[in-house]
Amino acid sequence: MPPESGRPLTALAIRNAVRAGRLTAAQACRAALDAIDVHEPRIHAYISICADRAMEAAHRLDADPARVARLPLAGVPVAIKDNLCTAGLRTTAGSRMLEAFVPPYDATAVRRLEEAGAIIVGKTNCDEFAMGASTEYSAFGPTRNPVDPSRTPGGSSGGSAATVASGALPIALGSDTGGSVRQPASFCGVVGLKPTYGRVSRYGLIAFASSLDQVGVLAGTAEDAALALQAIAGADAADATAAGRPVPDYAAALEHPVAGLRVGVPRALVADEVDEEVRDRFDRACEALRAFGLDVRDVSLPHARHAVPVYHLVASAEASANLARYDGVRYGLRAPHDGSVIGMNAATRDAGFGRELKRRIMLGTYALSAGYYEAYYARGQRVRALIRADFEAAFREVDFVALPTAPTPAFRLGERLDNPVQMYLADLFTAGPSLAGLPAISIPCGETREGLPVGLQLVGRMFDEAGLLRVAHAFETGAAGRNDGA
């Protein structure tokens, strides 16, 4: 299935072709696996590739054309970030701790994708337990950016972003806690959607920070992101924090006009610490939105500059508890030890967790400790409420908030490994919407002179994924239209 135009087929195109009988699921799946083979030595986007399992699933689909005709993702090859549980398929979360862990169950989002006809071809690389912004903290080696392999793809969903950007397949699932879908999307030049907290079930998503984690989508187009979200969104009896409200028809929403919608830009925030070229592409993107008839105006988010420290405080505190279960008792690694229970816990956690994880566990444990709780965790939660209130106030004036996705384009491998604070600044514009639980999308909005992608982030009201996708789609097709005309 060589794409004639040189551009990879979208999920929509694959699904339509498979439904029409012009393409088999097996052909679509084979093409994706072949492409992965080509790119993998260069970018290392995967921790596990499950070619046999994928081909079997594809053949099963092809054997049932009546069923295929109804499936919204019929025969679409997809990749899954390796922190989402897949029954019978090794799930490592990028950690030595779970190097040999094979879950007995599927994450809800994974099950729903498969039920929609998607075929899982592999598990993508990520920072250990999704903690990182470059995929360099994976225990299985870093992923490289397909645009420039000397640079990181961002993180923590770097593998998912890289494989979609390489053109091997149209959709991959990621997870976003403070920017882990949006920032790699921005670095790799693809669409990254972080839904509202509660829009997609977290059941089977290996927890990092439970009040922030959300399953997200990396896709080549807004239309494909809509297709994937449609499949995975909605209430789940297995997740008490999954929202019960009905899931709208996202594909239909893409067609609605965008003229007259109001977009707010927090100018004061964007002035800070932002790469000059990124700011320029962002300004041009705002101009483009205005050209499509949107009302672009200034808004103020006075507490947003505290988002990064607050995010790290809250996320690390929750992580310190979420990672306590890796004790060597029931599953995962059990390191050689002195025979005592504490010795087994300590040896296992020392051997199983990487440095960055240990740093965050210690930070989080400290923030929750008696005598420090009020000064750190409780205060962090109060500032979080202020950040949320800022957005609420902004959304009384505008329908969306626009921000750069990341303050810089993709940085080089190793460049920030020794400087965690610099690494944390990658979350400057993404942590705030995460703390507020809001949906946000990153869409490509141009390149730097070196050809590195830059992302435009749009933040929407709670549960307004439809609105985000609609503006993203208009931006994408409008930009494409102008390019075609040029």
Partner: protein, 481 residues
């Protein structure tokens, strides 16, 4: 020496009688093979999430209402962080700063008068698994963990320090169990550990209102152990104070073997549990309607029932207590009374023979094979003089085994008393004629020999002779001879 006054507060963990665990669909069961009632949630697998069991919430609310607590419209779950091999997630989901209910009281009539213990709080939490150590401590030993109990629903009930002695504490524990069984909140099996108790004990000079240093004593899982452990702990602390020493603020555990409490950890070694709100569960919102519906479902509570039985039936305290502890026993009692039996008679039979037979057969009173009506008919035959009291016990056992009517058993087995004076007269005469020596002794003034003749007649009739008639006939015959 200063007399010391104990000040005791209890923390009781009650396993709620739900079919499934607090946060997953696994059945709560203690009898199954180890680790056969587990799933990703209660094993703490990566990515698994808790979902609250609504039935457990209902049972906790019922418990709170029975204890007169205020049930809060919103309560919040929290994580209590500590490492232990039988704690699968490395934290326990519990409630901390916003519990389900607060501010109740349990009142009852104790041996020394009315008792009143305030309830500080009642909250929901999950149980841990069970560790079993095999072999020696250290590398040669092994620890096995069974997660069947992991995630079982518990209500933790914390009292104020209102108890002034070991006996009162044990009495409270027993009354609490009775109450929670009565409202259906727990099955209440002490053997299966459905109720587990920790105690905070301190001593102060009698009459003082300054609190001493509290010591926590853990793992007091029967009424008797609780009393023995507290007695020991009070003695231990009194000895320290009498000698001018200071009681350490520490946690001790009760050792069944030695009958002593042993130090577990000092205050310095106490865990920092690093509580914070459980982000995987939304706050627990309980509507006023839900609370009202549950309140309407509350049965008559044991203490109220005891007072009512004592007052309206004139029962002695002990009998009223025994019958009122169990709604089914009280219902049985009232059915027997309304079938026409005197309340005291009914109480005697229920707390005596019926209780014994139930215990032997390991049945509860609502499973008793003898209906209240059948029991009443049996006892009426004793009152009518048809059978003796001793005979009635035998008939009851037969009714128990066969389910037959008492009248049918009495008739078919020829158990009815022999009240036929002609028939009995012949037997009496025979007994007198056959024992001339005894007759001579009787005439010589040894009236005790009268009993010997009664015995002879009873033996000859298989115990069925009506004693009153026998007495009258014997007296006449002995005078005559």
């Amino acid at each position: 020496m200063v007399p010391w006054e104990p000040v005791i507060g209890l923390e009781v963990h009650v396993q709620l009688a739900t079919r499934t665990k607090l946060f997953c669909g696994c059945e709560v069961s203690s009898a199954d093979a180890p680790n056969s009632r587990v799933c990703p949630v209660c094993l703490g697998l990566p990515g698994a999430l808790p979902v609250l069991n609504a039935r457990a919430v209902d049972l906790a609310i019922l418990s709170a209402l029975a204890l007169g607590c205020t049930v809060h419209r919103r309560s919040v779950f929290a994580r209590k962080n500590y490492f232990y091999p039988d704690l699968p997630k490395g934290y326990q989901i519990t409630q901390h700063d916003r519990p389900l209910a607060t501010g109740g009281v349990l009142e009852w009539m104790g041996a020394g008068g009315p008792r009143r213990v305030r309830i500080a709080r009642l909250h929901l939490e999950e149980d841990a698994g069970k560790s079993r150590h095999e072999g020696p401590e250290g590398p040669e030993g092994r620890t096995a963990v069974d997660f069947n109990r992991s995630g079982a629903p518990l209500a933790e009930i914390v009292t104020e320090a209102d108890l002034d002695g070991a006996a009162a504490a044990a009495d409270f524990f027993e009354r609490l169990r009775e109450l929670l069984v009565a409202v259906g909140a727990t099955q209440g099996s002490m053997e299966e550990g459905h109720l587990r108790c920790d105690a905070n004990v301190s001593l102060r000079p009698a009459g003082s209102d300054v609190l001493g240093t509290p010591v926590e004593v853990k793992n007091l899982n029967s009424f008797r152990y609780l009393e023995r452990a507290l007695d020991h702990e009070i003695e231990r602390q009194a000895a320290i104070l009498d000698a001018g020493g200071r009681v350490e603020h520490e946690t001790r555990s009760w050792d069944l073997e030695t009958g002593r409490t042993l130090a577990m950890r000092s205050k310095e070694e106490a865990h920092d549990y690093r509580f914070f709100r459980e982000p995987d569960l939304p706050p627990l919102d309980v509507t006023a309607e839900r609370v009202a519906a549950l309140r309407a479902r509350l049965p008559e509570l044991p203490e109220a029932r005891r007072a009512r039985l004592a007052a309206s039936f004139g029962l002695p305290e002990a009998a009223a207590r025994q019958i009122s502890g169990d709604a089914a026993a009280a219902a049985y009692f009232e059915a027997v009374v309304s079938a026409g039996l005197a309340p005291r008679q009914a109480a005697n039979w229920i707390t005596g023979e019926i209780a014994r037979l139930l215990k032997e057969a390991r049945l509860t009173i609502d499973e008793a094979p003898v209906s209240p009506c059948a029991l009443a008919r049996l006892v009426r035959q004793v009152e009518a003089g048809t059978i003796s009291h001793g005979m009635a016990k035998e008939v009851l056992e037969r009714m128990w085994r066969t389910g037959d009517d008492p009248e049918a058993i009495v008739a078919s087995e020829g158990l009815a008393r022999i009240a036929d004076e002609d028939h009995l007269g012949a037997i009496v005469r025979q007994a007198v004629n056959a024992n001339p020596k005894a007759v001579a002794q009787y005439r010589g003034g040894k009236t005790l020999v009268f009993g010997f003749f009664v015995g002879q007649v009873m033996k000859a009739t298989g115990g069925k002779a009506d004693p009153a008639i026998v007495n009258r006939l014997l007296a006449r015959e002995l005078e005559k001879a």
